[in-house]
Symmetry: C2
Subunit: 705 residues, 2 copies
């Protein structure tokens, strides 16, 4: 699953440095579930292991796992960088998605080979290849530390409160790590309603055992991403080594004999990254009316430029194809989120919940005094943000990679002079060194793209800002957007990494005296960008503090029956394997290998629907009726990639890797009418290992033979 910014477009998302802050903060999923009556479905099913909804599971599925089942499941799961994974053999095999092991697969490729392209299959343990920098964290215990943190926060000023909270969290984390040797982390639930100390055992000798070709793992590419029916073998197998030997013993998930039948109960165990289900209606409206439309406009702007470049020749078409796919994919994701916020029924449910919630708080004078003002405080802060949203959006260094570099350089003297905690987020906590290194890194620039995107950015800025705006004056200097962009890009020497390094190493003096046209502009824009950032900062703190109040109010009103916000920590989500209405008919609950070969033929084997040589050859060996992917109603989001799907016997039935297009609105309001988790099927994995990859020994190990 790729619900985060897609890899190919990261460099292209030249939005204002300071925008989108709200997207990075606070969201929280919530679900009210009382033993048999009110069940607030829109908050989803991302349950924590210290508050599993046993009564609800009992009533819904007739299944009530005991503590040893829960402990076994928790200890069989692991978290890896950015993703989820699980132990799946007695000898330390770890299963995750192909896209979660991408950096390892690339890193261990020999100089003349790309395992991304060819795939990799170790023929024995001796051939397994250590993944540099990879780790796997196994959750050992959870402890509530809310009281300790709350007692450390004594200030009345919002910004100061944040600092006190951060420092209390650091102290608890450090003490835990020192005393236990474990990897400790304080996790903020319910936007600050609860703080829990999570203790992880970290494994750091992880080796690559098997990875298919990226084309098989990410079959259908960006067009098919976030969709279903799907035909992806999005798997990779790693092995955890301890003291140089395969991890042996300890908890792991057994392999199910046949996978899951339609309507069967299955659990996803993994680490969902971030949801926005506890946002207030005002916050959702801000996203709907301000943030997302601006994000989408940015995508459209880029697409218009790239499509123009792409139309010039067949060579250009091929050159920009992936960029276009990537942008379309980002647009698809954000459009999906926005669809949920624009859905009147869904928003009405959200409003009804908020009314009920606020009524419960208003009904109790003590609660009202403590929490009653939180919603209006957030709404007021957002109104204030809305009043300078255009400035916030445009006062920065967007539209050009070169301008962005100039901006980072221009900000250095100012940020260096500040205490760390007062710096901009990107320059805080040691990140200032990363900025310096990044700026010096040699990289190529497409000057035509730079000119065109900067022109588009300045045109859009001019359309939204008043004519006498100081940013426009600084960047345009009376020229048209096209003329200004051309002069800046043609005139700059920042394309030369040595020139950039000279400025960074020359310090404030060199930076302040540079006559490079982009540096001149960046120095004029920097104070404007800082001014906007300083205006936003207290407003964001107000929003965060009041969001915490609302998080606390959740307990007062609903108890612990609602699952908290996604926090990239271990959750267990229940669901069932299930078809859904689609396109006038039904999408089946599973796909088969037949379907993969169908889709390849149906697009005349044109990328991204082409078969790899290995898969083209395997067609006669495979049992084409075996299941490949399947869907279920479990509640997942980015971070869950690589999560195991297990049955009630805690056996592996699948491997989550994506959601369908209808699941995107779940970021804010969960629904399982048509939204689905998409997983690789356990039986398909075995079939592919044996028949396509000649990896019978690995299949045997998974099946415990």
């Amino acid at each position: 699953m790729k619900t985060q910014t897609p890899r190919r477009t990261t460099a292209l998302l030249a939005l204002s440095l300071l925008s989108l802050l709200i997207l990075a903060t606070g969201p929280a999923p919530v679900r009210a579930q009382s033993s048999s009556s009110g069940f607030v479905k829109e908050f989803g099913t991302m349950w924590t292991f210290d508050a599993p909804p046993l009564d609800y599971w009992q009533e819904t599925y007739g299944f009530r796992p005991d503590q040893s089942w829960l402990d076994h499941v928790r200890l069989s799961a692991v978290r890896i960088p950015g993703c989820s994974a699980s132990f799946v053999s007695a000898d330390g095999l770890v299963m995750t998605n192909h896209h979660c092991a991408r950096s390892c697969i690339t890193a261990v490729s020999p100089p003349d080979t790309s395992y991304q392209e060819t795939g990799f299959v170790a023929t024995s343990m001796a051939e397994e290849k250590r993944c540099p920098g990879m780790w796997a964290d196994q959750l050992q215990s959870i402890e509530d530390v809310t009281g300790r943190i709350r007692s450390a926060v004594t200030a009345t000023d919002a910004v100061r409160q944040t600092e006190q909270r951060d420092s209390a969290i650091s102290a608890i984390t450090d003490a835990c790590t020192r005393s236990t040797g474990l990897n400790c982390q304080v996790v903020t639930f319910y936007q600050g309603g609860v703080y829990s100390l999570y203790r992880y055992k970290r494994f750091d000798d992880i080796r690559l055992v098997m990875a298919p070709e990226e084309q098989a793992a990410f079959y259908g590419g960006d067009p098919d991403n976030f969709t279903y029916p799907r035909y992806d073998m999005d798997i990779s197998l790693l092995r955890v080594y301890v003291d140089g030997k395969p991890r042996s013993g300890g908890d792991y998930f057994r392999w199910s004999a046949n996978g899951a039948a339609e309507n069967e109960l299955v659990f996803v165990v993994g680490n969902p990254g971030s949801t926005g289900r506890l946002l207030t209606v005002a916050q959702m409206e801000y996203l709907r009316d301000v943030s997302y439309p601006a994000t989408l406009a940015g995508y459209e702007r880029r697409l218009a430029v790239i499509e123009k470049l792409s139309a010039r020749s067949e060579q250009d078409r091929r050159r920009y194809e992936n960029t276009i796919f990537g942008l379309e994919n980002s647009r698809k994701a954000v459009n999906g989120y926005l669809t949920g916020l624009l859905d009147k029924d869904k928003m009405a449910r959200k409003q009804a919940f908020e009314r009920d919630f606020r009524n419960r708080i208003e009904a109790d004078p003590a609660l009202k005094a403590r929490y009653g003002g939180a919603w209006d405080a957030i709404a007021k802060a957002l109104d204030e943000e809305r009043s300078f949203a255009a400035q916030s959006r445009w006062y920065g260094f967007g539209g050009s990679q070169l301008l962005a570099l100039a901006g980072q350089i221009a900000l250095l003297p100012h940020e260096e002079a500040l205490a760390d905690s007062l710096r901009l987020p990107n320059y805080r906590g040691g990140r200032i060194d990363r900025v310096r290194a990044m700026v010096k890194r040699d990289e190529p620039f497409d000057l035509e793209v730079e000119r065109m995107t900067l022109t588009a950015q300045l045109q859009a800025a001019r359309a939204e800002l008043p004519p006498d705006d100081p940013f426009l004056a600084a960047v345009l200097g009376g020229k048209t957007p096209a003329a200004a962009a051309t002069a800046l890009i043609d005139g700059t020497k920042l394309t030369d990494a040595a020139v950039r390094a000279g400025l960074v190493d020359g310090g404030a003096r060199a930076i302040r005296s540079s006559t490079d046209p982009l540096m001149v502009v960046a120095r004029k824009v920097a104070p404007l960008a800082l001014e906007v950032a300083n205006r936003e900062r207290p407003l964001e703190a107000t929003i965060a503090n009041n969001a915490e109040l609302i998080g606390r109010a959740i307990f007062a009103a609903y108890g612990r029956s609602l699952p908290p916000d996604a926090t990239f920590t271990l959750r267990i989500s229940d669901g069932v394997v299930k078809r859904y209405p689609m396109n006038g008919t039904y999408a089946p609950y599973k796909t088969a290998f037949y379907g993969l070969y169908a889709r390849a033929v149906e697009f005349d084997n044109e990328p991204p629907w082409n078969l790899t040589p290995r898969w083209a050859k395997a067609v006669d060996k495979l049992d084409l009726s075996k299941p490949l992917d399947f869907v279920s109603t479990n509640d997942i989001i980015g971070g869950n990639s690589g999560s195991p799907l297990i049955n009630r016997n805690a056996e592996i039935v699948g491997l989550a890797f994506d959601g369908n297009i209808q699941f995107l609105p779940n970021r804010f309001i969960f629904s399982d009418d048509v939204g689905r988790t998409v997983s690789v099927h356990s039986a398909g994995i075995i079939e592919a290992l044996r028949k396509v990859y000649g990896a019978g020994w690995i299949a045997d190990e998974l099946q415990g033979r």
Copy 2:
């Protein structure tokens, strides 16, 4: 394609006898296309053979067929009952859809066999089976008779004008048939803007050569109907015999070697039944706001009843499954039409066209005097209809098959007493005898369904009519809907065909003195129904006459560049084979046999996605990568079923059988953004004939070997 009322639900559509009249009248598709500029896409591409848009084809595709190409294509196509078809071999083979030959397939099945279930393949001409009542009409010539008809209409009264027009049409038709021996028909184009005499050569010795199992032809059943991707072998092959021998010589379509590539130009040649593209905005709004919502409410009412019955037991579930699918299918179609009318962009385009059209008329004093008042006249008549739409909807014999029979009987004495031309449409032109015969026919009744649906009907009527309404008084007689329905259904003897025959044969006297409770009610309702019908009749005539004026105005404003309304007469529609955006990704331009086997497995071979034994066995023989179905942007609608798709060499590349779900709004406003015609692929037909049906001799004949 099944865009008409689906077969399984015909008996269930117990709507008021007199409602939906507007749906049966007048629609007309139109397209403005000037040689290189304004192209009014929303009027579609259903061109007549006497006005092919040669310049537009030349400009768009670089293709300008000559007259002999057009004549050859026209003479290779035939019309059969309710469908389209074409000659496809030198020996008189005719290709159409399986669902177009259904009645023949059933009729020629031996007593102990259903060819619908087993399929049928003649192993030689000797085994071909004559289809009772089947005919095929080949269009010989077209003559404009507008002047002759217009000069016959001299009255000023709208109802009288209609009668004069009808009688002029009859006279022309009869004279033509007498003098030529051909099957002659006067066709009304542009809602009466043009009348053309179509002369057909009729072939009436048609024999069944080959038909697959219905399960293979209608694979995916009602759920997959109106959708794509699709995997249907919806074909049947007939042979035309002349004087007891296969038709030999004459025009026919050759078979293409490979079918059509993506983006290739293809033509559909066939007989689209009915479209509503020339409706005024007021008419579309009436459909949107009054007619369709009532139709959908009727489906929902039926579904609620049937789903309740279905939920009682597994046996009931199976028993009602097809009925539910059928109703869901009708709902899908009407929802699709309504989607177009509710689409603000589409309606805005329609409004913009109407404004432009009216402006052109208003700009010319002569045109204004003749046509300028037509739009407002229609709007006024519709406002009047709207004022008693509830009465029109409920004053009748809906909700129960038995009540509908009682109503037909009760109306007989009144209708018998009238001159034919003054009768209700269903009793006019000899149809009164059909009513008598139908009423006497023996048939079974499900009394529980009768009670429940009548109850639901009466509940809905009571919710929409005022409390003192005379219809409610007549039917309910003070009881609740449930009590009234139970008393009527339990008390009637009309379940007995002999009782009904006795009433019909006993004449007015028997009918007027019957004490059967349903007859008593029907006699009270009949005058109410007649009163509503009489109120509607002049309004419908006003609408029809003014629609004709608008049709004439089309010429004045746009010339003959717009294709006329669909009239179940021969058209040629251009389009290209093309993928489309769907479900967040793309639907491929074609499907392959792989996909059929995929879908079967993906639903665990559960009906309606099960494979027939023949197809299950054939999997190892087939080249699964061969194309099965494909999509193109041609403009079709019900009646086009069985139309050939040909390339620019007039070779068969496919066989149209349906549209995707996105094509449904095309009924009113054409768009080829995502709407598509769905066809069986010519290469898939050959592959199936050779490998699944062992019909190599037929494949050889098609391929001219």
